[in-house]
Amino acid sequence: MTGATPVSVHAIDFSPRPGAAPLPRMVLAQAGAEIRAMLRNGEQLVLTLIIPVLLLVAFSLAPLIDIGGGSRVAFIAPGVLALAVMSTAFTGQAIGTGFERRYGVLKRLGATPLSRAGLLLAKTAAVVAVEILQVIVIGMVAITLGWSPQGDPLWVVLLILFGTAAFSGLGLLMAGTLRAEATLAAGNLVYLVLLGLGGVLFPIEKFPAGVQHVVGLLPITALSDGLRGVLTNGAGLPATQLLVLAGWAAVTLGLAARTFRWE
């Protein structure tokens, strides 16, 4: 054992003085730790920032897809925002939480005064903070590419919040029930499948009508469609999409609350 300045055990007052910190302080501390963990994780940054920005730039500049007229960046930017929300709230959170469970971190945190509700609050706050960063970066890149967003920002905020709830529920459902490796594989797979199917880059109008109905019920489609309606076409309250997202959130969060295993 090495130590520059040996410290005597007598210098520390171990006498019991138990007490929990106020909830906001605990939640802030944990949220800060979660944000640092997300921003420090290289693979996660690729998923949450680099891939969305690359897709945004590539699909805006090059005629890779037929969007049926109109500005390419105006079509792509809302889809990429939806993708960013999914990557943080779903993929990142599922994988992160899955490994926290595996490494006993959730168990160890369970022995501190931070309650499970507090932990969930901290995780949500961290996800929202990272999403704000994503929206800023993606928004700035898109604007540089000539994007001029339309619509009421309130609907955008609502869509992102509902989407976050739905994707968090899905992510926590997986993280709390599957093995960490399975969560890692499934998290990435679902990300790819939803990226391909959900109207992020390819308009779902190109799919056969029957497929469109099913795909329209996916959370990623609801989110990208909703965002596109508001940001591209200046649409009003995206009621259908909010309803779909709320449904996903209610079902997945309810299931996750019931099935989540902390160890």
């Binding site: 054992m1 090495t2 130590g3 520059a4 300045t5 040996p6 410290v7 005597s8 055990v9 007598h10 210098a11 520390i12 007052d13 171990f14 006498s15 019991p16 003085r17 138990p18 007490g19 929990a20 910190a21 302080r25 605990m26 802030l28 501390a29 944990q30 800060g32 730790a33 640092r36 963990a37 420090r40 994780n41 490994f99 926290e100 490494y103 006993g104 971190v105 168990k107 160890r108 369970g110 022995a111 501190t112 005064p113 931070l114 309650s115 160890e263």
Partner: protein
């Protein structure tokens, strides 16, 4: 802390089988037992991580699942519990923020020799450094009762002493400590109360002194395979002599100058050179092996 008739099953396996145990406030209680004896199961039930299948457990007068217990307990898991990427100092600071009157993280890092690793991610710490970080996190909230599951496993001698200092410091400050260990000397040195469990039951308990008894033994080392029966013939009736393990001889009975003289005379006659010839009390390890046998678990 009080445990009565505790039962814990995993499928068809009964890991804890009617265990009864009381740990007194302000004392260090050491739980000893072979691998798989049920130590971790018992401790984790007290920490509220696992639910018992039978019996009652009261920790500081409360049910282990009571959230009011959390700030009053300090917990060190047998393994893990820290995110691999988090830096040592950062983890300690975050945990400190959960408590109203935490200890200074930097002082704890220094005490446990981790100051220069404060910015090292957990996964890059050595096993012993990881253990020390977990120990620091267990005490940072100034708890009344601390559970340490094998706190010195994998520690070098210096780190083990630092850990012992922490445990003694806690006890001196009035904190109750429950620890498990496979190190008999550690249990002997640190604890006020020793509990030996095997197959999920308490097989012996008491102070280290009570367990080892007042009886003394004459021990020496010599080449393996001496004729102990012949040696026994030279000793007064009622004596006992055995070789355990190979090359280590233990003689019990009227231990005193007379026995010493007889044994050395016999050794001289047999041209046996003895090493480490000494008279001492039975060690806790002797008692432990006697109680739990020699077979591996």
């Amino acid at each position: 802390m009080e445990i009565r008739e505790l039962v814990k099953r995993y499928g068809r396996k009964t890991a804890v089988d009617g265990l009864k145990l009381t740990c007194r406030t302000g004392e260090v209680t050491a739980i000893l037992g072979p691998n798989g004896a049920g130590k971790t199961s018992t401790i984790e039930i007290c920490e509220g991580f696992r639910r018992p299948d039978g019996g009652t457990v009261r920790v500081l007068g409360l049910d282990p699942a009571d959230p009011a217990l959390k700030p009053r307990l300090g917990v060190m898991l047998q393994a893990g519990g820290v995110p691999p990427a988090v830096r040592a100092g950062e983890w300690l600071r975050v945990v400190a923020r959960f408590y109203a009157h935490p200890l200074d993280p930097d002082a704890l890092l220094a005490l446990l020799g981790l100051t220069e690793h404060a910015r090292t991610p957990y996964r890059r710490l050595s096993g012993g450094q990881q253990q020390r970080l977990s120990l620091a996190a267990a005490v940072i909230g100034r708890p009344e009762l601390v559970f340490l599951d094998e706190p010195t496993a994998g520690l070098d001698p210096q780190a083990r002493h630092a850990c012992w200092d922490v445990v003694t410091g806690l006890r001196d400050a009035g904190v109750s400590v429950v620890l498990t260990t496979h190190q008999m000397d550690e249990a002997e040195k640190l604890s006020d109360h020793v509990v030996v469990i095997d197959h999920g039951r308490v097989v012996a308990e008491g102070t280290p002194r009570e367990l080892t008894g007042a009886e003394r033994q004459l021990r020496f080392r010599a080449r393996p395979g001496l004729d102990v029966d012949q040696l026994l013939g030279a000793l007064p009736p009622g004596s006992a002599a055995k070789e355990s393990p190979s090359g280590h001889y233990i003689i019990e009975g009227q231990v005193g100058p007379q026995m010493l003289a007889t044994v050395t005379a016999w050794c001289a006659a047999e041209s046996v050179t003895t090493e480490d010839l000494r008279i001492e009390r039975r060690t806790l390890e002797d008692v432990f092996l006697e109680l739990t046998g020699r077979e591996l678990r």
